[in-house]
Assembly symmetry: C2
Homo-oligomer: 239 residues x 2
């Protein structure tokens, strides 16, 4: 049985390896979760897989863990980006969390014609991504990139395929069966949709596939989970 | 262009039909959304389709709308239930909202072996379902049923097919291509998963199909959207 409490650390992991805790990690493990010496924690760092570690020293401001044995391999999610138009802070946090659970490897906030975003704190969203990875059993924490303008991003686009949710698209089921494997990005527009210019720009690119997400209007976070589901099921790690 | 502000009313709708507003509806339209006489609202009642109506009288405690013309047909979602194990209030509200967006026709909270739920106020969740229908452009408001024990529900089960997310299932893609049309229920377990007894009970029923939702642990609301996506894409109204 894998440890229920998992921690992402910036530290090499290996047999007998000791890991010093930051103040925040010590507070979480010993203050919030009430662990003490001898208790077991799962550790990962994004490259060495998952390790079972025991608490050797528990303090208020720090502590020491010791790796015992590897409890799982390093698993990279498929080469999939989630690009989405951020709006409100709580919703952005939610989309970041869902992207991690759904196995996106990289998260890119994009500013579209109809994006009217609050300022996005990338460091805070990165922390949310880390927490989500700890909770969903992942061993990789997706990078949250700096927000970029969609028009500039597409102007320099290097051929990665794009699956975008288009309210005017029909027959999503047909196009999905033919998705090719390889690097992809799922693109979710803001709640006002894409502008006409953005839509025709996207439709004019060779690397894009438009899909329908049904007859109802989905909120951005629902659309993100739905589109990532369709991709994972068609060519990702849900197969 | 359809009206952006939509209201679900308990009133027959038809050409020239006048609709009196409740105090809450008047507050929303005139206090919150700042509408006034002559402004346009979309109306639906779950059976007469969507109607374009204009404000005839706007007061603080009430008001009067008049239907002008039908702006959309009555659309029933597929015969799909979402059964889920409620946990915290905010998350339950979220799942109800997502179920409406994703086109479930009926929402059934189920109490499983590992459900440790706060008391669920069905009237409040029904109000959230109504709001979600107003926002997502639906003309049907799913019923939120009283919570029921899963074991009792399954003991009286009448043959409706069940798609359930099983953490121990593999090869979801294979089974989905063969889903039969007809009445279905999507069943999402609590975050602790189903008990062994529940799992073997479900697997032993003729009408059940187990699917995998990938290698990561999904939160209940993510699992609900993902499973509903797979169903809608395979046999629902996303085809």
């Amino acid at each position: 049985m894998k440890p229920k409490i998992r921690l992402c650390v910036e530290h090499p992991l290996g047999e007998g390896q000791q890991v010093a805790l930051t103040r925040e990690q010590a507070h979480y493990l010993f203050g919030v979760m009430r662990l003490g010496p001898g208790d077991v924690v799962g550790l990962f760092n994004g490259c060495d897989g998952e390790w079972r570690a025991t608490v050797e020293d528990a303090g208020k401001r720090g502590g020491l863990l010791a790796c015992q044995a590897q409890s799982g391999p390093q698993v990279m999610p498929p080469d999939l980006w989630l690009m989405f138009a951020p709006v409100k802070k709580a919703q952005t946090q939610f989309i970041v969390e869902k992207a991690v659970e759904m196995g996106a490897r990289r998260i890119l906030p994009v500013l579209t014609a109809f994006t009217n975003s609050e300022r996005l704190r990338v460091d805070k969203q990165q922390a949310h991504a880390l927490e989500a990875a700890e909770q969903c059993g992942a061993t990789h924490v997706p990078e949250v990139a700096e927000p970029q303008r969609l028009d500039r991003l597409l102007a320099d686009w290097q051929g990665r395929r794009i699956l975008f949710a288009d309210e005017s698209a029909v027959g999503g089921a047909v196009s999905l069966s033919g998705l090719e494997p390889g690097p992809w990005a799922v693109l979710i527009g803001p709640e006002g949709g894409f502008s006409e210019a953005e839509r025709s720009r996207l439709r004019g690119m060779d690397c894009t596939t438009a899909i329908s997400l049904g007859p109802r209007i989905l909120r951005a976070e629902t659309a993100a989970v739905a589109a990532l589901t369709l991709w994972q099921q068609a060519v990702g790690d849900w197969r």
